[in-house]
Amino acid sequence: MDELHDADCGCQEYQELSRRQFLGAAAGVSAAAFFPSWLPKVVMSQHFASNRDIIVSIFMRGGADGLTLVPPYGDPAYYTSRPTIAIPRPDAASGTKGIDLDGFFMLAPAMAGLAPAFAAKDLLITHGTGQTFVSRSHFDAQRFLESGKPNDPSVITGWLGRHLSTMPPLKAAAPLRGIGVANGLQKTLVAPVGGPYPPRVLPIADPTNYTIGGAAATQASRAAFLQSDYATSDEPLHSSALDATNTLALLKTVNFSGYVPANSAKYPNSAFGRALRSVAVLIKNDVGIEAAQVDIGGWDTHSAQGPITGGMANTMADFSNSIGAFYVDVIATGYTVTLVAVSEFGRNVRENGSAGNDHGRGTTMFAMGKGIAGGRVLTKNWVGLARENLEAGQDLKVTLDFRDVLAEIVQNRLANPNLSLVFPTWTPTMLGVTR
């Protein structure tokens, strides 16, 4: 295995160079002058780890209301704060009541698709989760969560991109290690191109239809023309073009349309459901995929939230049924995959005048996999919804930093020893997220 590793990582010289490229020191300027004090040294993995998990990372964009996804029905302030949009207790007479999780928290009825994974102890839910850096801006909160270093706008790369850049590929020749199922690359997957290992990340909105078109007879020669023409292109276009030409050939070998999910799993025919289905196909075809980033929007519920029959109920059903299908199709069948789902922030505890709620703070996070210590709702210093305990008098406090959850997964499930590069300046507390 060491031989493989050496072939891939490219020897001592490369390590040395990579370090310089990571620093990006300009000519005539000492590296120290630009050396950020928090910059750690890259640790090369000593072994070509082949038993580590693939990660599927989901971003619930818009600020998902964790108090509707997983309401603390045991807290009376939940019901007094939400006269029109609260979910009925699991023991209510109503037919549209919540699904009990632990006697205090419940799942919204539209989240039922996640109940089997929770019951099998493969789904962990965290609550009061988020960023300690306070931002109620979607765009700041999203970019800082994706970068993994809150409140530092200079970090343009994402935590998952840096993970790929600091780990050798699972399959040495894989042209596509990371896929963003999107038209443009999500920040989570943006990688420093000069890192120790080639990240080989592409955004592919629809992997089932990845083609350069035109006459079939000349496709190969046109692709070769393009590969050659982009050889002199600058980064990041250069790597993208090279990865793309190689991925074109790879995806031709994958049969998406004939795919039959295991255990009769039924993916919803939604953008999110189709995306997870495509990710499942890539995983099962053993093409060397290591990371997938999938987005699901529709969580910015300023008005008419509709937690039981309206807009948010539909979004929750799409979310939970798609992940539920992925669970029975991929995770329950033994593929070593960890799935995580995050959102940039939660929403105000009290509903607003439009039967919705505005930008808040703490929310839920989800982690799923055979290596996840699931079947529980994990909190840390949970303070509840009583008004005197709210942040700024309005929001569930963030008492559990998202990086604690992700860092433990990166270290224990993705086998990456470079936590300080993936989450710079953060010393994680291991909370027992993984088994």
Binding site: L23, G28, G62, R162, P198, I212, S221, T232
Partner: protein
């Protein structure tokens, strides 16, 4: 696989095989050419790579690039232009338009740098009658009022707005104006699937009316747009429970910027000031005093004293006072200046550039034309890095250079969805990104688009005529491609590869279309 064969590959099917054994990564990535210094790079670069580098200009900047944390955790936004892009007027045409055409380059060369810039800035003097007649004929909903549009088919509203937008961007003579229409459409982004027909009057009376006007007029028109009220839930806000969505975004995205010095309290207070700003009837903006919060508020240090419901319609003046505070705020001058510089000049504008343009904002009362004129000067522009075309820009430029007969824009609009950049479908209020790290990976849809467009020859869509490319030798065809698609400044490597691909025989229609497609798909065509 970043392997050395890529840089020396000859065109041919054998180079496109999958699953080659992994070779050691080529030591310095392309990135190192930019971020590592020349001294450090020179000692380790393979000879071929150095040769490639030699065809690039060094970027001349007035300050050393930030190579600290940004280089470690950043991406390359500092792409030096092709050495073939020698003409300063050519640089201006690339920046001031949505793509090169041979007549546009000729016009710019005739007028000179300043003359051409003035010509494009004084857009109302450019006759655009032919394009507007086509818009009226093919997309008649664009000329209707909100009252008329109320009963229009929602699907027609959507496609007519989208198709006319890419049509105008590609074929209008008022190119710089349309660059700014695109810019402000993102700045005041709205999602057609949320606001529907309201977006047509918003485009006509807010964006297109003020795109090269005064920023305060633009901001105020947007704040009085029924479409914006609906998009950011302002129409659901009321005194008993204000909705903060619009109050936040008007400060974060439209004026001050996220670091512009406002607090969560300012958001909450401004949302109270704006209660009552709503819509009525068929898409009309209205102020409803009965849901306005008349109690005292303080926003950004400005106190608005308590009012009385007896003031009625005058309650709108509280919000209008705050709009004046916002457009006159120094953070707004800096935020707008920075964003315009990033759009027109450089993803990393210098502190000097930002303060200069912010100064123009303050001195001219936010005159957009004056800021654009100051940015596109013949000193800054030649020293600026190349920018990657976003897909909308890329598609428009392909149409401009290919000069098709337009029968319908349906195919193009559908392709924009595949490219991830269909107009008015970015659902969050920040607008489509203008970031290279976001778009650079989306390269296969561009190559596919190039193939689709070059092969269009239908009386119901577009017709690209290959006759001019087949009237002489294949070398003459490449020359014509150079003129039409690259302004005569096609990189030599691309030219040689196209010549090799074309062969020596007279081109067939199919071969000519492939060459046009490869020109559109080529590396050099992605930049401006």
């Amino acid at each position: 696989m970043r392997t050395s064969p890529m840089s020396s590959a000859q065109p041919g099917p054998s180079d496109h095989s999958e699953h080659e054994p992994e070779a050691p990564p080529q030591t310095p990535s392309r990135r190192s050419f930019v971020f590592s210094g020349a001294l450090a790079a020179a000692s380790v670069l393979p000879r071929t790579a150095m040769a490639q580098r030699a065809s690039r200009k060094r970027r001349v900047a007035d300050a050393p690039p930030d190579t600290g944390a940004a280089a470690l955790y950043g991406v390359n936004e500092n792409v030096a232009s092709f050495s073939e892009w020698a003409s300063t007027v050519g640089r201006l045409v690339r920046r001031a338009t949505l793509g090169i055409t041979a007549p546009e380059i000729a016009r710019a060369n005739q007028l000179g740098f300043q003359g051409y810039l003035n010509y494009q800035l004084n857009y109302s003097r450019i006759d655009d009658g032919a394009v507007e007649n086509t818009v009226l004929q093919k997309w008649p909903l664009m000329a209707q009022t909100a009252d008329q549009l109320f009963s229009a088919d929602a699907g027609q509203v959507r496609t007519q707005l989208q198709e006319s937008t890419i049509y105008r961007a590609a074929f209008s003579q008022r190119q710089l104006y349309h660059r700014m229409v695109e810019f402000w459409s993102d700045h005041f982004n709205q999602d057609i699937d949320k606001v529907g027909y309201l977006l047509i009057p918003d485009q006509n009376d807010v964006i297109r009316k003020h795109a090269l006007g005064k920023f305060p007029d633009l901001l105020k028109a947007s704040a009085h747009s029924a479409s914006m009220m609906v998009y950011l839930d302002q129409n659901t806000s009321r005194n008993t429970a204000p909705n903060q969505n619009y109050a936040r975004e008007i400060m974060e995205l439209h004026t001050l910027g996220v670091d512009g010095g406002y607090t969560q309290d300012d958001v909450a207070e401004l949302s109270r000031v704006l209660t009552g700003w709503t819509v009525t009837g068929r898409g009309q903006f209205a102020f409803n005093p009965s849901i306005h919060d008349w109690k005292a508020k303080t926003v950004l240090g400005v106190t608005i004293p308590a009012g009385s419901p007896s003031l009625g319609a005058d309650g709108v003046k509280e919000g209008e006072q705050m709009l004046d505070v916002l457009v006159n705020h120094p953070s707004t001058a800096r935020f707008i200046a920075t964003k315009l510089l990033k759009w027109l000049l450089d993803p990393n504008p210098s502190a000097t550039q930002i303060s200069t343009i912010a100064g123009v904002y303050r001195a001219t009362g936010g005159d957009i034309k004056a800021m654009v004129r100051a940015i596109l000067n013949d000193s800054w522009l030649p020293a600026s890095p190349m920018k990657l075309k976003r897909p909308f820009h890329f598609a428009a430029s392909a149409l401009r250079s290919a000069e098709p007969t337009v029968n319908a824009m349906t195919t193009i609009n559908n392709q924009l969805a595949v490219l991830g950049h269909q107009s008015y479908t970015w659902d969050t209020p920040d607008g489509y990104p203008d970031k290279i790290e976001y778009w650079a990976g989306n390269i296969v849809p561009r190559w596919n688009f190039a193939s689709v467009v070059s092969n269009l020859n239908s009386a119901t869509t577009l017709q690209v005529d290959t006759t001019p490319y087949r009237s002489g030798s294949s070398a003459a065809a490449i020359d014509l491609i150079d003129t039409n698609f690259f302004g005569g400044e096609m990189p030599l490597t691309t030219r040689n590869a196209l010549i090799a691909y074309a062969g020596t025989a007279t081109l067939t229609d199919a071969r000519a279309r492939e060459l046009i497609g490869l020109a559109i798909a080529a590396n050099a065509f992605q930049w401006y």
